[in-house]
């Protein structure tokens, strides 16, 4: 049955309408979960607010579990969905740079949009920063165009590379996530005792 648009169940003309609707729900959840505050987000690295970890990992494990069942029922053909291709070196470097940007700026692109929507000036600056960053990346592209395309592994899945089946990966992820939820709840309680409350 699914995915609906690639399988032609829904005409591709609806693509953009659906894009807006999905974005709408996505943005709503991000904002309502507290992702429009950089201090909420950065809290995950300092132990006073684990909202990012909670939302992010819950989303991932729910999606992992859901996909496996949907694939099994034949409702969603997992082999037909877009799997992000892997470029090992560039992606590793990129994620490290993103981590740096994350800890300094306290946002990520998706959350910036929602934060701008509710009137955060710092989010606007972060957005401008991304804009400049991408621009600089494009301008300097000849310097690292070889590196950019290196380490290509195709649309590799975790099973292809690590040899862990998707099912076991899901179980491991879930156990790790649930355990971290319980542990971080305790950490959060302790850390917050020593902190001034923060407002927004």
């Amino acid at each position: 049955m699914g995915p609906l648009i690639p399988n032609g169940v829904i005409a591709s003309g609806w693509d953009f309408v659906i894009a807006i609707l999905i974005g709408l729900v996505f943005g709503f959840i991000l904002e309502a979960s507290g992702f429009s505050s950089s201090r909420n987000i950065a809290g995950v690295f300092y132990g006073y607010n684990f909202v990012v970890l909670r939302v992010f990992f819950t989303a991932v494990i729910v999606a992992n579990v859901g996909f496996l069942y949907l694939d099994y029922f034949g409702w969603l053909d997992l082999s037909k969905v877009y799997v992000l291709p892997t470029y090992f070196g560039p992606m590793l470097l990129g994620s490290i740079i993103m981590g740096l940007g994350f800890i300094i700026g306290g946002f990520c692109p998706g959350t910036t949009f929602t934060a701008i929507a509710i009137g955060k000036k710092d989010a606007l600056f972060f957005f401008i920063g991304i804009f400049i960053g991408i621009f600089l990346f494009g301008e300097g592209f000849p310097l690292y165009d070889k590196f950019y395309a290196s380490g290509y592994m195709g649309n590799a899945t975790i099973e292809d590379v690590l040899g862990i089946s998707a099912q076991w990966f899901t179980v491991i992820m879930t156990v790790v996530a649930l355990a971290s939820f319980w542990v971080t709840a305790e950490i959060e309680k302790k850390v917050r005792k020593n902190r001034k409350e923060y407002k927004f």
């Binding site: 201090r39 909202v51 729910v62 859901g66 069942y69 029922f73 034949g74």
Partner: protein, 212 residues
Amino acid sequence: MHIHETNPKKTLITVLVFALIILAGFLTVKKPKFRYKKTLAETVGMLEKKEGCFKPWQLVDVLSKVNNKVVLIDIRNKFEYGQGHIPGSENISAYDLTKDKNIKHLEELKNNGMTVVLYGNDQLQANGPCVWYRMVGFDNVKVLMGGYEYYKKHKDNLEATKNLDDYIKEIPRYDFAKVASSKGEVKTENKPKKAKIKVRRRKKTAVAAGGC
């Protein structure tokens, strides 16, 4: 302080709904009628071993009821079956092979330790279905080499085909390299006009070369 809703009641409800959808999926999911019992690699291995051949002369025992462990199935359509078929064979047209009734029948045969021999007009016609049955777990299915046409030609003296190899496929009948490079001079004149296939007799040991 940034306040998050602390009571996870809504979460619990959502996850329960999620679980219910999955449960609904389990209840509605159709158990596939067929499933590949052999992986691709196993299938290739099976094909290499060339199992599943049934030689024409083996029919002798079947027809004389000495061997009552073999069931012949004619996979041609009713019309062709009506025009002539191997005595004692059942007719299940290729299009009906997956019908519940027929699958049940085949399963019964399999459980009773019977060998099922498929045949079509030639070996090729039954080849695909035979491979398919073996893939989905019917290891007792074989294909009649030579097919019905070969049987028809030799039905009066099937025993004699023991010494023939013209029903065996995948043997090069010519020295390709030589024939093809001979500038076309040898061609028709040298060849007796009527002879359809040059039959070279072989010792029976060579049978393994047959592709089936």
